[in-house]
Amino acid sequence: MKMTKTINMKKAIHISMVIIASVAIMSCSNTNSPNYQYMPNMYKPVGYETYGQYDIFENEMEAKLPANGSIPRGWMPYEYENSTAGLELARTELKMTLPVTEENLAKGAQLYEIYCAVCHGTKGDGQGILMQREKFLGIPSYADPGRNITEGSIYHVQMFGLNAMGSYASQTNELERWQITQHVLNLKAALKGEAGLIVETMGENAVDNLPQLIESAEDTVVVDAVDN
């Protein structure tokens, strides 16, 4: 009775070694599949989860294009078409209505760092990191004499892209594109050695000016600081 109950010390060592080894193996081998859960029905949502995989959808993907004709909240129609003629029209006609404020400029600079600076460079001289690493070539400076960059053309190009540059309409909203436009105008002025945009003091006019823009900025939260 006693003999069967107690385990030989050596055996115990062996057994514990096997356990340690198997734990070690188990912890290494399963990085390719998610772990099991205690109560999966508490973990898995009843509804369709963002980016989930469900049989009911085409290709089993929950992520889909919005239905034709649907409009994002705060979206305003953009009347210039994606063509050379549209660009030229926007270049001369399209004017910025967003008031130039410290806040807008700061936000514009921050967004510019995220989306534009990798190619166009922090100063707008076309010397971004992708240019320096020769992933992209021939990115012009904003002060390039062959290009007449205006507020309208800056916005239009963000909207539809131009030549090798793609559209940024899916990553930014209308307000953000105008904020970036303000920053680009300032960069262009700085490159040419001219004076930048004049910052308006936050008068009541500025706020009332564009209720729809402020509406579309409902998700834009006050930013702490601008790093550049």
């Binding site: 010390m9 115990a12 508490m42 992520a63 021939g138 559209s167």
Partner: protein, 440 residues
């Protein structure tokens, strides 16, 4: 000396095997540096300085034109043969005016390229343009496939074969050692017997396990130890259920965060643009990839041949993207035949926990790396943090609220600071531990 008869051999064996296992589970090999063979470009035909032309070409033309294949504009290899020099001067300086002047060839070129307008370059002089034309005669460099093929040697399959060979060799050596030990022992014993040496015969002691059983104190201590140890392991095992730390699934396209965010310093928000303003950080749709990969169709960066990450490997992954998004490289246009890319989601909170990215990214200003780890160093994306409730709460207890420029919370911040008698409020003191904040 000889009386020890490999009593410990099984223990030693298992120890050694364990050591072997641990050694080889993490074996990495020193990387073989691969000398990149650079082919010198032959001097160009025709007049003009090709070297100066290259600089000019890269600065002005390369945004749209490539030498050997179509970019936004047509391929420019040997463009000087196709058109007259004077014609090219006019075209490059201001193609639109040239077209308007009614030059039939100019109109033909304009029509042949989907009427896309070429930027005017009035600043380029005749010699500048001559230099650029000279550069366009640079022959295509020979691909350096042979070099990678030689050293790579089935690198795509990993280094399984070499690993196995080394393992087998080591096992063989080990076996030989054991056999030798036995033989030496036998011989020594025989010599001892032949010489009449009397080696001590161990007196009959009770077997060790019996001695062990008789020592009640030892039994007690051992059982306590075993209980504690098993409790420790059982606890560890139960606590990792439902935690996916280290989960690194194979994705349909091998996307390297190391190359994009690490080497090229692309901001996380560039692709995950909705992290700034929505609950989800967003898996970028393929149009975001194509913002850059319309132009970048092949990989020319560093290689890791050991792991199979060669230039061909990466270029092939870009082709997978083209295949999925329906991009025809030859015509530089979308075919409209799209295939879904089924990315495998890595970070997934249980349904009963609410997490909002924008709240952390935009309001709190927390760097992505705080939770996601050094993503810019990850060749294969994996889950860095455990994403358990304890992990969330620890951070909420330790992190101070940054209220700089956030007037909205100024009053409540002051009142709460007074209440708790502190200068800096933590998230927890602001109510960041309330159940309903995350569970509802």
């Amino acid at each position: 000396m000889i009386k020890v008869k490999f009593r410990n051999l099984p223990t030693q064996l298992s120890l050694l095997l364990l050591a072997l296992l641990l050694t080889f589970s993490t074996t990495t090999y020193a990387q073989e540096d691969m000398a990149a063979a650079t082919t010198e470009t032959a001097p160009a035909a025709g007049e003009g300085d090709a070297a100066a032309g290259k600089t000019l070409f890269n600065a002005n033309c390369a945004a749209c034109h490539k030498l050997y294949k179509k970019g936004v504009g047509p391929a420019l290899f040997g463009v000087g043969d196709k058109y007259d020099k004077e014609w090219l001067y006019k075209w490059i300086r201001n193609s639109q005016d040239f077209i308007k002047s009614g030059d039939p060839q100019a109109i033909a070129v304009f029509e042949a390229n989907n009427q896309s307008v070429m930027t005017a370059f009035p600043a380029l002089s005749d010699t500048d343009i001559d230099n650029i034309i000279a550069y366009t005669y640079t022959p295509k460099p020979e691909p350096t496939v042979a070099v990678t093929g030689a050293t790579g040697g089935g690198g795509g399959e990993g280094n399984g074969p070499t690993n196995n060979i080394i393992l087998a060799a080591l096992a063989l050596i080990f076996l030989l050692l054991v056999v030798m030990l036995v033989l030496v022992n036998k011989t020594l014993r025989r010599i001892a017997e032949a010489n009449g040496v009397e080696y001590e015969v161990s007196e009959k002691r009770p077997p060790i396990w019996k001695a062990f059983v008789q020592n009640q104190f030892l039994v007690f201590v051992t059982s306590i130890f075993l209980l504690l140890a098993s409790g420790y392991f059982a606890y560890g095992w139960m606590m990792q259920v439902g935690v996916d730390q280290g989960y690194a699934p194979v994705q349909p396209i091998h996307y390297s965060h190391k190359i994009h965010a690490g080497d090229n310093l692309i901001d996380c928000n560039y692709c995950h643009s909705s992290a700034r303003k929505s609950k989800h950080s967003g898996i970028p749709s393929l149009n975001v990839c194509m913002n850059c990969h319309k132009m970048i169709s092949e990989y020319n960066g560093e290689e890791d041949v050991e792991k199979g990450y060669t230039k061909e490997f990466y270029t092939n992954e870009i082709k997978k993207l083209y295949d999925a998004v329906g991009w025809d490289e030859n015509t530089q246009s979308y075919t409209g035949e799209e295939k879904p890319v089924k990315w495998v989601r890595i970070h997934n909170l249980p349904d009963f926990a609410y997490f909002n990215h924008s709240q952390h990214v935009t309001v709190a200003g927390i760097a992505c790396q705080t939770c996601h780890g050094p993503v810019e160093e990850m060749e294969i994306m994996s889950q860095f943090s455990p994403l358990t409730m304890g992990w969330c709460i620890t951070c909420h207890r330790e992190t101070n609220v940054d209220l700089k420029g956030n007037e909205y919370y100024k009053k409540i911040h002051e009142e709460l600071s007074k209440k708790y008698g502190v200068d800096q409020l933590t998230i927890a003191q602001m109510g960041g531990l309330e159940c309903g904040k995350c569970h509802y």
